[in-house]
């Protein structure tokens, strides 16, 4: 690990000024991903500005019927929060599907959004990687890419975003509250916060240097029910091969509204707008759920070894939507590895 300086400001604007003033400055939250990447030599900040003690720890109901979640709310606390469990079950389940109990106790809401891909090439400084070192190439395209993207990838990068939480937030129309130098503020929908790789895969998000996530804002819950399900190589403590976050409102056997997002398929949480369009007004049957999933996944461009993800995504989406449409509500999460699972690699989590 490279040597670094460390400061722990007591207020938000001092922290922002410290990072903004230093091109080698980086925020430190729970550290579960950044400290690991520093050990690997993938990240080498010269200055760590510790924001984990900033007073961004509240979950507050908003006048519009939503919730504002402070950036420092721990993943475990957010998952267990009574209002999140009651109104946004997909979010609680997504958080609980990620990482381990120990990691969720440390990881923060803001940091979860900013975790970086677990693509093996990105994490290995002995290998080329356009995300880590722009212009060096992407060995994953022809190499080990079973876990990587089938949607929205580019010639430069086929990485996937690892977060479970972000997939639920994308489906739930959440937004990220950002504060920058000179007290500037902006709010970015989660669906626009993460980027597709294009020709600049080194940029995961639209965040500018110095900008700090201060909160995540959830609108009032969508009508109907929501759920999150994750297919992975192990029954627990593994990154998603595919995950699905969905909110569905069915009345009289017809879909009134639908929100659907996929994880594990792309460089960002993949909001499935084409599937949603196909769902609204359709009969709530497995056949129409399948057609809706196909409408989204027809854009997939699988690589040599990950075409299985397309079928897995279709089946998981149908299963989640069907469980949300069933009179009894969502079924229990699947215990057991996904069909076609294989022994785990060196990554573990969310």
């Amino acid at each position: 690990m490279k040597s670094f300086s460390y400061v722990r400001p007591s207020d938000v604007d001092t922290a922002i000024a410290a990072v903004a003033a230093d091109p080698a400055g980086s925020y430190l939250g729970g550290g579960t991903n950044l400290v690991d990447l520093m050990k690997l030599g993938v990240a080498a900040p010269g200055l760590l500005v510790d924001v984990s003690g900033l007073p961004l720890t509240e979950v507050t109901p908003t006048p519009e019927g939503g919730l504002s979640v402070g950036a420092n709310v721990r993943n475990s606390d957010l998952a267990a929060h009574p209002l999140v469990r009651a109104r946004y079950p997909a979010l609680s389940q997504a958080l609980l599907a990620g990482a381990s109990g120990q990691l969720r106790n440390a990881a923060t809401t803001g940091g979860n959004l900013l975790q970086r891909t677990r693509c093996l090439y990105f994490q290995d400084v002995g290998k080329p990687c356009n995300k880590r070192e722009p212009g060096t190439g992407c060995p994953a395209r022809e190499g080990v890419h079973r876990d990587l993207a089938v949607l929205g990838h580019s010639a430069h990068c086929v990485a996937t975003h690892p977060s479970d939480m972000a997939v639920a937030l994308a489906a739930l129309d959440a937004a990220v509250r950002l504060r920058g130098p000179d007290e500037s503020e902006r709010t970015v929908p989660v669906t626009d916060f993460h980027r597709l790789p294009g020709d600049s895969p080194e940029r995961d998000t639209v965040l500018e240097h110095g900008e700090l996530i201060t909160a995540v804002e959830l609108p009032a819950p969508a009508p109907g029910r929501s759920a999150y399900r994750k297919a992975r190589d192990r029954a627990s403590y593994a990154f998603a091969l595919v995950s699905v976050a969905a909110a569905l409102d069915v009345r009289g056997g017809t879909v009134r509204s639908a929100r659907l997002a996929f994880g594990g398929l792309a460089h960002k949480p993949w909001r499935a707008r084409a599937a949603e369009e196909a769902l609204v007004g359709a009969e709530a049957t497995e056949e129409s759920f399948g057609r809706a999933a196909d409408a989204e996944l027809s854009a997939a461009e699988p690589l040599r070894d990950n075409a299985f993800k397309v079928e897995l995504a279709r089946n998981l989406a149908v299963r989640v939507l069907a469980s949300l449409a069933a009179p009894g509500g969502p079924d229990a999460p699947a215990a057991g590895p996904a069909p076609g699972a294989r022994p785990p690699g060196p990554n573990s989590g969310s």
Partner: protein
């Protein structure tokens, strides 16, 4: 976004004074900022109960209780934990009397080589507290009334929205397996570890 930029600017020193309260004892240390809590415990305080398995937060052997919550000590920079209360496996027993979770691991033979055991035990203590506090896991059934339709939207007190403090979650073997999944055991003592945790949960 993290950029790899050569250090050219003047930075404050790369060492810090850190106070850690470990097993009830206050320690004042001067540490390189790169020192993790795990390395501070093992290399500076000679508390070698917490083990370094993977050193990347994947195996759980380094699990300690920080402010009462289970945490991977290998991923925590000590400098970022200044003032923290830490309990390691060395701090669990009451004199000569083992902690109930330690006793259960002995009774149930919840280990073979023992390397993962300190982390398993600290993690299990965290699991028991989390379940007692009603914290759900991924396999906890979703209450039927919690499906979104019956909860009126709008401002309300968090503690009141779902009927006050949630009830404890029963620790079935399925719950224990899910909640302990961040602790790997190379010997495969899982069956007995689950039995040990179940014993204490009863």
């Amino acid at each position: 976004m993290w950029h790899v930029v050569p250090r050219t600017a003047q930075h404050p020193p790369a060492v810090s004074a850190v106070t850690l309260h470990v097993n009830g004892v206050r320690h004042r240390l001067t540490l390189d900022n790169r020192t993790t809590v795990l390395d501070a415990l093992r290399e500076h305080l000679a508390l070698t109960g917490s083990k370094k398995g993977c050193d990347h937060g994947q195996c759980g052997a380094c699990t300690v209780l920080m402010e009462g919550r289970r945490t991977n000590s290998c991923l925590k920079l000590a400098v970022a934990c200044d003032g923290a209360e830490i309990t390691t496996v060395e701090g669990l027993a009451d004199g000569e009397n083992p902690h109930p979770v330690q006793r259960a691991f002995l009774d149930r033979d919840g280990f073979q080589c023992g390397y993962c055991t300190p982390g398993q035990i600290c993690s299990a203590i965290g699991v028991l507290a989390e379940a007692a506090d009603g914290h759900p896991s991924y396999v906890t059934p979703v209450a039927s009334e919690a499906a979104g339709q019956s909860v009126p939207p709008g401002p309300s007190e968090p503690s009141g929205a779902a009927g006050g403090t949630p009830p404890p979650v029963p620790l079935t073997p399925e719950e224990i397996r899910e909640r302990m999944s961040g602790n790997l055991c190379r010997c495969g003592a899982y069956a007995n570890i689950i039995a040990a945790v179940e014993d204490v949960a009863r």
